[in-house]
Subunit: 150 residues, 2 copies
DNA sequence: ATATATTCTATCTTCTTAATAGGGTATTTG
DNA sequence: CAAATACCCTATTAAGAAGATAGAATATAT
């Protein structure tokens, strides 16, 4: 059970992107520095997010990236699938074990399908807006805890 | 979303082991040949299953492996965890993304926890006995289909 | 023109997985 | 006891994916 660094960086980038007012851009450099993500690596990731229809870009002076849609309409499933491949119950995974295909014993195939189905269910009900809210609430919880102990 | 070859082979081996009457052993060689699994690789896997308390072994002439417990009492969770590491919602994963630890933004951590929690739920309700039944039913379905089309 | 910022393609490094190798140890049987 | 059997243990190798870096190309605003 693991998510790649790419997926992790993508999620962080998109939460970051959600902080910017609709229609305004942010730059790779800022995002990379503020989040401790290797800049050149991040370039590739944002490009993939753009190709997935999640981000838009403006080139040249004053350019940068921005969300292609509102956070409420961006499902975690799209984000994760852009980097991990299809997650849905009947879709083949990228790795060794493919669900639904005959190369595996049916029982193993079925178990794999159940597992990826469960993950897909989670990913399809979380949106980017939910993640941002979760992040904000965690920050608030931390702030309050610090107050208590000073 | 992927299971390692080790996990796949382990599941196949345990389904195979379940076919043997309680108390009787099977040999690595047979299991490897009948399932097309590299023998030396399989040795390592069975050893891990033994250390996980899922298999028992008898050395020497007439020895081999056998299930340590009845298939109804062996949860898929144990099997998968023996090779993929902890899956539970609050346990840290082996890979880059750890749930519950502070190195990640809370929102990403939370999402990872939801995902692994969903998988853990599936794995804790499937037993080895269920997998064997699933395998048998699939074989039966296939047999009937063949009849129809001849 | 020039500065800015994304885009593209290639490469490199590191780590994990999958597999192999070779001897060691326990146990049964004649 | 000797020999055959079958698991036990540790190390190494090979291949591929993931993570990261490099450098130049292209588009755009001023």
């Amino acid at each position: 059970m693991r998510l790649s660094k790419k997926t992790e960086y993508a999620l962080r980038a998109l939460i970051y992107a959600s902080r910017y007012p609709e229609g305004t851009t942010f730059q790779i450099r800022d995002l990379a520095e503020k989040n401790g993500i290797p800049k050149k690596f991040l370039e590739l990731i944002l490009l993939e997010l753009k190709n997935a229809g999640i981000l838009e870009s403006r080139r040249g002076v004053g350019g940068g990236y921005l969300l292609a849609r509102r956070p409420e309409t961006i499902r975690a499933e799209e984000i994760v699938e852009a980097f991990e491949g299809p997650v849905a119950a009947d879709a083949p995974a990228r790795g060794a074990v493919r669900t639904g295909r005959g190369e595996l014993p049916p029982a193993v195939s079925r178990l794999a399908a159940e597992m990826s189905g469960a993950v897909a269910a989670v990913l399809s009900r979380w949106t980017l807006a939910d993640l941002v809210r979760e992040e904000d609430e965690a920050t608030e919880r931390r702030r309050r805890n610090v107050m208590y102990f000073i």
